[in-house]
Point group: C2
Chain length 363, copies 2
């Protein structure tokens, strides 16, 4: 049997993208938006990237139940059976575990790539080659593989992975995962050649991640082991089980619960273009700029005495500004935000403040 038939892709798209508020909203988070003006949303671009190397029936969408309609609408190619709906937000470890148990119950030889839906990837052909190399590796090793992006600048917005012993091809053991560095340390990382951006894209077999979860996160693995394989094979029984069991899972990331603890963690160093679109500044850096170094996201702008500003406006609107350097100006769905890029880490707090003061309609 063609090994492609055992390869799966899990696209995670349950986040609310509040760091891009108000452009990204609880009811329409960034992964469901045509963020780059390409005519395809980030979720659709994630699907497009992978669909030539993974059979459509093996692509699983993991999201919050409130986004079911958005997923159906944006990805009509995906069977509703393949949309797994979390009844609660529990970070990445429980949802990846569910996907692994769901897939393993159907295919004991399954391997899988797990990827967020809200990243931007360029040089997609290179991406596909890297993914295939990764699948080939995990299918012949009991390995938890993560993709490490070759850094192109001393970025302080990402975590880094330090590579250890070279294993084969572009794959090495992971020596350490690091937190986001300050600029001085980021420069050292870049110069060393040993540090790669932590992409949050993983490749492993279902059996390997199940085993790693049983060992490193037994409470989560225990929840999913508590159901028979037959439960995962029937939509109704699986939904009933998840509705009762999933909310009881601890909320923890796969990084903390597994990747930083397991001893079979590998990194494939890759060179395709990657941006996690984690912040307005990340979007600014990624976007084409005009002669004043302003970025306009799908909108008409007349800017005077202004540079380094990003404008992201939903709907037909003219924006006229004077004297606004290095700001974020975003207007969408009843909210206007004007904030210096340097204070974008405060946006989450602003969303909370707005909720306290004006209720959740602006969330």
């Amino acid at each position: 049997m063609d090994k492609r038939a055992h390869r799966y892709c899990v696209i995670m798209c349950g986040g609310i993208g509040s760091r891009f508020w108000p452009y990204s909203r609880t009811r329409l988070p960034k992964q469901f938006i045509d963020f780059l003006g390409t005519g395809r949303t980030l979720l659709q671009m994630s699907y497009d990237r992978i669909s030539s190397i993974i059979p459509a029936e093996n692509i699983i969408i993991l999201t919050n139940e409130r986004y079911f309609d958005l997923v159906c609408e944006q990805l009509p190619e995906i069977s509703k059976e393949n949309i797994l709906l979390e009844p609660a937000r529990r970070n990445t470890a429980p949802c990846i575990a569910w996907a692994a148990w769901h897939i393993a119950s159907r295919d004991s030889e399954a391997s899988m790539i797990v990827t967020p839906a809200d990243h931007v990837i360029t040089r997609v052909q290179e991406f596909r080659q890297s993914v295939i190399e990764g699948f080939d590796f995990v299918e012949s090793h009991d390995a938890l593989l993560t993709l490490g992006i070759t850094p192109t600048r001393p970025e302080t917005g990402y975590g880094y992975i330090q590579i250890g012993n070279h294993t084969e091809g572009n794959i090495s053991k992971v020596k350490t995962f690091t937190e986001k560095p300050d600029i001085e340390l980021a420069k050292v990382f870049l110069a060393s050649g040993e540090f790669f951006w932590n992409s949050g894209i993983f490749i492993w077999t279902a059996a390997s991640i199940q085993s790693a979860l049983r060992k490193n996160a037994p409470d989560i693995a225990g929840v999913f082991d508590s159901a028979d394989k037959a439960v995962y094979l029937n939509k109704k029984s699986e939904d009933d089980f998840i509705a009762s069991a999933f909310p009881g899972c601890v909320s923890i990331s796969i990084d903390y619960s597994v990747m930083e603890r397991a001893n079979n963690v590998f990194v494939e160093t890759v060179t395709f273009g990657w941006n996690d679109l984690g912040t307005w500044s990340a979007l600014y850096d990624l976007s084409p700029k005009n002669s004043e170094q302003n970025v306009t996201q799908n909108c008409n702008v007349l800017a005077y005495n202004s540079k380094g500003t990003i404008f992201a406006i939903r709907g037909e609107k003219l924006v006229v500004v004077d004297g606004l350097d290095d700001y974020i100006v975003s207007d969408a769905d009843g909210v206007l935000l004007i904030c210096p890029k340097s204070r974008e880490q405060k946006i989450k707090q602003m969303v909370t403040d707005a909720k306290v003061k004006f209720g959740d309609k602006y969330e």
Copy 2:
């Protein structure tokens, strides 16, 4: 006969208010907006101020023909016969002349107050007493009377009137009209007690202003004298005459063409509260401020590290700003403006630039 029956009010409301763009728009200028959130538009407030001292049938609305529907809607008390529609914009002298000839043809003993519709006046009872004093004066003198507001601060945004010989009551001869002063001169003006703000509110008899126009602006007077009195008494014949004759008038203000030339110009010094709402800064100065000295015009604002800023947003919207001192933030009808108050004089140019670049839909 009660002298009240011969008193008329001409409310001018044909301007487009482009200095308040985008809140004030060609299709909905500021005089038609509930600018102060009182539930009444500036035009309605102008009517309310005067309607207790002038019979409704003597109140004339002078506006551009495109605003006919707005006037009818906002002032249902006014007969359509009393709405004079300019077919072209020709500044104040031609439109005041038309009103004078229109009124004189009906009432040879008429006196009239001419007032813009877009000013804010407080202490309205005092205003009414001042107007009555003014009427009493012009009805017994061949005088062109203007109201001079007692200044309360060294304002650089207004023209000033220097008073000459005292005549009677609060009324003096005008010595000079001045342009807007710089701050040093404005301080001298304020300290002197001789200088008053030029309100642009006039009181005179129809006969006196006709006579002054014939003497000082004979080209304009000639246009209106070219029609028989009977022409002005019939709506249809008056409209036909105005359609053909009015556009041929020179575009000039009543100040330049008459007030600064005639030798029978008087000023009544008054103490009611007055603001010409000429600029965003004027509105800011007039408006109640919160603890950060921000002004919010009918909108919800969350402001961080921001002070001295005015927010004028039409429609239900939350505005969240960080680090914006002394700005104008206005969003209305498809346009968002963010501009330092100190550069508000550039707004007219911005409107022009927007028109050149994006067409007249944002006008």
